[in-house]
Symmetry: D2
């Protein structure tokens, strides 16, 4: 059984574990004051080309989203998100649990358009409704699509015009920025959001996300929010060491690149065998549409999510590749799809 279920099936990239082992007995301060965390912050500021940002390391995506958003907003503020947004769908109501409504609009391929933001504002005119204050998007989106520079700038402009915060969930940001379609560097991307996070968990770390806060008014006392939400690790070195390893050279980018290449290989191989896709993606998530019979056969050898029913006899599945995905398993998967499809078609022909 090989898993294409997600990008957190394996542990961490070996280089990270090696660094953990080597520094293990070194005594360090806790709670973010260790030397590794400081070094990781220094490296990230360099890569982002902005010394005036604040950087904090948290443990996971839901935790980062809820800690940041609840710290940024006042009680009557609400979030605007596309209806596929991770905070709306898959975080157990974590944002609402901190007191904030998440207002959703349909989105298009997982993305949000500036005019949708303005429509939400128009529908929330006074104190009988909440006040929308923060726009939440994910890059890549939950459907594997990415924002181009023009799209992000347009969203930023509508936010600026309406005094909204722009927040980007970058659980798989590495994959977005290494996508063949992408037209921004990390530094160019980073100039737009008021805050965003760079995901480590889904790109080779044991756990860990780097939250970048750019807007000054959102920076104050953020460590209080982390502590209060249980998001501050005593042995913060665990996050500092991993992010130092990821960003001291090219590792973070190489891992995302590998994940994307494996997805591309999978997409090309499936397409060559007549498979179509729910969404045209360019990162490490694919949504091939397959017959239920084919899916059933594949489940004997592979694990993956069934995403949604497409019609009576076909469904879209979700395949995720990662830094750890093995090329031969991708090729085997393609070969298996081809073989099973042939078998099914033959059977159907012989019945006909």
């Amino acid at each position: 059984m090989y898993s294409f279920k997600n990008d957190y099936c394996e542990g961490a990239h070996p280089a990270l574990l090696k660094a953990l082992v080597e520094s293990n007995m070194q005594q360090e301060e806790g709670y973010g004051y260790d030397t590794f965390t400081k070094e990781a912050i220094r490296l990230l500021k360099e890569k982002i080309q902005n010394p005036d940002i604040d950087i904090h390391f948290l443990n996971g995506g839901t935790q980062t989203n809820l800690t940041a958003i609840s710290a940024f907003l006042k009680p009557h503020h609400a979030v605007i998100a596309p209806h596929t947004g991770h905070i709306f769908v898959n975080e157990a109501g974590a944002i609402e649990a901190t007191g904030h409504k998440v207002i959703t609009v349909p989105g298009y391929n997982g993305k949000l358009k500036p005019e949708q933001v303005e429509a939400v504002l128009a529908a929330h005119p006074d104190e009988h409704t909440v006040r929308p204050k923060l726009v939440y998007i994910s890059n890549p989106t939950e459907l594997g699509t990415i924002y181009k520079k023009d799209e992000l700038r347009a969203l930023k402009e509508v936010c600026t015009k309406n005094n909204l915060y722009l927040y980007v969930d970058g659980a798989r940001l590495g994959s977005a920025l290494m996508s063949a379609e992408n037209d921004m560097t990390l530094a160019e991307f980073a100039a737009y959001p008021d805050a965003f996070y760079i995901g480590g968990t889904k790109n080779g770390a044991l756990m860990g996300e780097a939250l970048i806060i750019q807007r000054d008014e959102l920076k104050e006392d953020f460590r209080y929010s982390m502590k209060q939400k249980g998001a501050m690790l005593a042995k913060s070195r665990l996050l500092g060491i991993q992010f130092t390893e990821l960003f001291k050279g090219h590792l973070f980018w190489d891992l995302a690149d590998h994940a994307n290449l494996m997805a591309q290989r999978l997409q090309d191989g499936l397409a060559a065998n007549g498979v179509t896709f729910l969404v045209q993606a360019s990162t490490n998530q694919l949504f091939p549409v397959l017959s239920d019979q084919l899916i059933e056969e594949l489940q004997k050898k592979y694990s993956f999510y069934i995403w949604q029913r497409v019609n009576e006899k076909t469904s879209a599945i979700r395949l995720i590749t990662s830094w750890a995905t093995r090329e031969e398993k991708v090729d085997q998967f393609i070969a298996d799809v081809k073989a099973i499809k042939n078998r099914i078609e033959k059977k159907q022909t012989s019945f006909a």
Copy 2:
């Protein structure tokens, strides 16, 4: 510079890292469904000698306390704690941030007495006050003292009588149960609280606490609470592997034992040099009372917290030992105290 500041200065016990490295490329389910987490649960149920408990692994103490307590209580319920309780003093208002008042009483050496619980109940008679519902204690306490079996049983009785939950913060539970004063096994201890946690972070793990829920009405849907509070790790193997290593043999107990022995050695050595202590403790925290001049000298070679001023010229400091504390550093510390004291006394004599 050597640190006696806390028990999370170093990384993890090497056996835990080794297990992480060895299992690293094995594909696993996430969010608590990995094979290691299952094994760790099996092992803990065995040690606790109770198959009917629920066990969940969380990342840190504050996170465990806030997730558990907010899941257990209704909005109008409050917590009773001694005024030294970690949730009241050092968790940035995390419990109140989930909506619950923490009612404190003075405590005695960090411990809570049954009659104090009843006094709180008497002072909260109706809906103009909150309804106290959960008793929070720590074992060992924040002052390094421990609950004896009789004390714990008495607290349990007052809880049962008044339909209160008893919750024990076991951030350093290993140290309590390995204390020379302790008169309970883990299984005997575990029979009292409705829920408690066994701390990993402060006993050799990179991070991780095992929450044990015994009372049936507190078990339902706890995974929802974990997810909602951002306390569920995608790569849950990280916790599963470490707790498996700690509990598959004696490691958890050996590490706590070492910490206690180092503390005992430190206490004996200091006492032999005329040092007195704020509290008589038997775990891995010591509170020696030293002259400010002595403290100043020690700070040049050691890091530790200054706990509280005792009188004009003396303060209590906090020294913490851990699984990683080196015996020669303990001996050196004692020798340094002795030498500095002598030097100071000589100087005073020569001035006199």
Copy 3:
């Protein structure tokens, strides 16, 4: 200027004021223990024909909804509501502010179907999503429609089957139960919801809603929740006196009846002049569709809400009648619509 904007333009029915004046200097207990509150509870239990319900008086609709729902739910529980639901649209995120997500479905004429409840449950299968626990509906709905007995029973059944609470917002319940379409008595209606409230503010009281809790597990400690949310009035007599007046005889029903009759008269008169309606309603809210030019003219003499644009040149407005609506004003409004329409049509003819 005459207002059809809402049913809280005037003060209270004179009988209520008279009772307030007459009892004014009588000394009474506060916080719900006054003799009038007790009498109002007695009367309501009699009308509902159920001695085993708990009844509490609160100040307004949003307050009642947020206090009740937050008292009934655990932190990971969510509400299911039609997307027109008052708690979702017009209560400033009050439910989310207590930590609970409101999951909406499109509804049909403001109503919720059992199969929609089941679809929501299917989409929320595990702890990565919230757990839907309470179904919120309004009767009448925000569009003036009402639930028939069969519809309510069907919703109750789907709730019972899935262990969900059924909660009915009865801000205008009097109007629903006095509707010509209605097929339930108060006692018959009351048998279905686990909890509901009977609105006073919109049916002749200065303020006040009567919350009825039927399900035993929801009753416990509700007074704590009221106090904690600032929903307990010191001079609770103010609510007790008014509800006693409303329910000691037929007043509550007479007031709702008048409101409905005025709406019916308005609807008949407008329809006779060729006006169509957005929704076919049978309570005290009407949504006539008028040309923008006609609306503009009417606004010079009447105040009302413009509800939604229907097409380029027409919009639906909302007209609300109440216990205080004067028949001659209704007739005048109809006459004005007729006159303005004629004038506009003539002008258009002369231009043609």
Copy 4:
């Protein structure tokens, strides 16, 4: 049975009811936009001699405190209060339910000293603790004492110096400002707090408190907070009319004056009969210390709270006078105390 239990035993001052009755059928806007609310705001700005304040009318004290404090603070902020503070003792954990810790210090006769504020700040140095941000005091205090101008100014200075908000709970502010000891006008008083409220419920209104916000950064969007907490009345005229009546002439002051005079008369009469008091107060609350036997006798004719046990045989009771307290009842009470005391003493003498 005559009640000295509190100052909300009766309804409203007849002038308020009269105004309600007379304006009853006038159509008005809701939610604070009625003409009466506007007039009441105009009057209060005039009395406070400050056109730049924001004024909102809410329903009760707990509601006002929780709505204001939760609107003013960020999630990691805490409140500093004397341990007798109403929000800490008697509001069912309402502040904590909005997520904020209330840090208490002993206080002196219900008052807070500047040095106590600074001690709290010193004990909350970093993100492991909450950040104190708002100082809560009551004037008069819960013990009937009042702040003199110097005391208030000193508190304001310590707040300004440490960037804390000063908030005053004025549930009985009229009584404080009419106290013989008081040395401030309303306008002079109002210059100190960043926000405070003027209580109506306890000074002759059916319900209602006027919240005054002076500091600009606290004003923004406050109506959203009111709506979200269920604190915005549809028929806001109910509050507007009452506050207009109270402040259009001297009524508010006359009512408080009467309450204070009645308390003074009671105090003098009791003192003349040898009764001592727990606290020396100058407003409408008295805490006479009486023998348990005397208390038992008095309870047959009067209702009041037993405040606290003083020693084995005596307790302090709380007597509250109000705008409605009748002079002959005060005199009767004094006479009864005298008579009962004599009877008891005689009996004791005859036993001796």
